[in-house]
Structure formats: structure tokens, C-alpha cells
Symmetry: C2
Subunit: 140 residues, 2 copies
């Protein structure tokens, strides 16, 4: 039995927040972003809708950075760069994976590959310029 899906203003706002930024937000970022316009928004609702959007393929997880899961509303395959200093995540649209890599893994190992992630770690432009921003502990 399919579960009915109903409209919700909060849900709409949460998806809009995800689609309106390129910062690959965490649940808390979305919460803080929307709280002024939706004073009765609750963090639980953000988490529930993030799970909902993932299940429906509207967003995908980019992984956990500094203990917080980060999300991306761009669901077409692309790589990411994570700054170990400030924690920002950036898209790398020009670093595509060879299309057949997933197929290679499937046939070579017998796995049912569903998706793959290519992620680079290091210092972003501004952090590598000002090496002093060591307020935050590097990740690796």
C-alpha cells in the first residue's frame, strides 16, 4: 500500500532551502536558515523531511563532515571537495567519473552498485591563503 503524500508548507520551505544554496547544508543549517520565517519550525521536522527527500530521490547525502551529515539537492553525478579547515563542501562539476567505473566494479566484484562518490579533501582557496585559521581542528 502506498502512503499518501500531502502538501506541507514546511516541507516546501525545506526543499527550497536545499535547492537555493550550494553550501551542501546540514540539518541545523536548514533549521537556522528557516527559523526566522517559520518560528514554529522544529529540528525534528527538518530531519524527517531530509529522510523523506532522500527516499524520494530529491536530495542525496554527501557524507558526514565533522559529525554532521551534509546534503545536496543536485542529484546528478558529480564530485565534491571538502575543506579540512573550514568544513565547506564544493561541487566539482568538471571532474566527472568515467561512466563505466560502476559497471567495472559490478562485473569485476559481482556487487550491485547503486552509486559512487568521489570526494577530495584538503584546503580550500581561502583557507590555504590564510593558513592561520586553525581555530578548527583539521579532519585528517
Amino acid at each position: 500500500m502506498e502512503r499518501a503524500v500531502r502538501y506541507s508548507k514546511k516541507r516546501e520551505a525545506i526543499l527550497a532551502a536545499l535547492q537555493g544554496t550550494s553550501c551542501h547544508p546540514s540539518a541545523e543549517w536548514i533549521y537556522r536558515q528557516l527559523k526566522p520565517q517559520h518560528p514554529d519550525l522544529s529540528l525534528g521536522t527538518v530531519y524527517r523531511n531530509l529522510a523523506f527527500f532522500q527516499e524520494h530521490g530529491h536530495i542525496k547525502s554527501v557524507g558526514v563532515v565533522r559529525g554532521q551529515e551534509r546534503f545536496d539537492a543536485i542529484v546528478t553525478p558529480h564530485s565534491h571537495f571538502v575543506c579540512n579547515c573550514c568544513g565547506t563542501i564544493q561541487d566539482l562539476p568538471d571532474i566527472p567519473l568515467e561512466d563505466n567505473l560502476e559497471r567495472t566494479v559490478s562485473t569485476q566484484y559481482g556487487f550491485a552498485v547503486e552509486r559512487c562518490e568521489l570526494t577530495f579533501y584538503g584546503l580550500c582557496l581561502s583557507c590555504s591563503h590564510s593558513q592561520q585559521n586553525n581555530k578548527e581542528e583539521p579532519l585528517s
Copy 2:
């Protein structure tokens, strides 16, 4: 001032546990593995030594799977496969990244790239054979 490093039986055992398995263990896995032989081992010690080994380059993090950080004692570059059904992580030594990809990202975007991770997600061999093991919720 350099901090001195001293020998410790627990530390040695933790590293041996990491190097003696290919399961990419979590802190808790190591704890449970060593507890019988080291009844007074504490989980905090496992976490502290995992951080220590990372800082010293003896291990690296493979990422967070189902809320638990997983580690790898093989620090040479290689890809991974994560099963969305049972959570196991496997090495893919035969799926190397082009060596110059990191350099490409460095020059093209100006980042100081330190490392990169290529990770595939899907169903492992045994989980794709027995599609019934839906006891655990898939990750994506």
C-alpha cells in the same frame, strides 16, 4: 615542543586489531574484539588511540557508515565498496584513481588537495543474492 610517545600494551593491541582485519572496523568493533583479552580496556582508550593513529598516519578514516566511523589500516590509495544492506566495507584494490586527478583538482580549482576517496555503494555479493535481508534499513 614535541610530545613524547610512550609504549602501551593497549595501544599495541588496538593497532594490531586494525592491521589484522580487513573489515574496516569501528571503535566499538575493536573494543569488543579486544575486551576478552583486555578486560579492563575502556572505549575511551580506543577512541583516543584511533585519533592518535590518524594523527600519526598509521590509519585513516573510511568515513561514517550508519553513524559509526570506520577505519582502515591500509593507508595506500585505494577505493572502497560499502554495502547499503549489511554495512560491510570492502577494499577495491583494482579500481585505482588516475594519479593525476588530485593534481587536476589542485590546478583547476586552486585547492590544496591532500587526499581523495572513491567509494561505491550498493549491495554486496551475499546481500544481493538473498534480497530478503531487509532487517537493516538501506542507506540510500
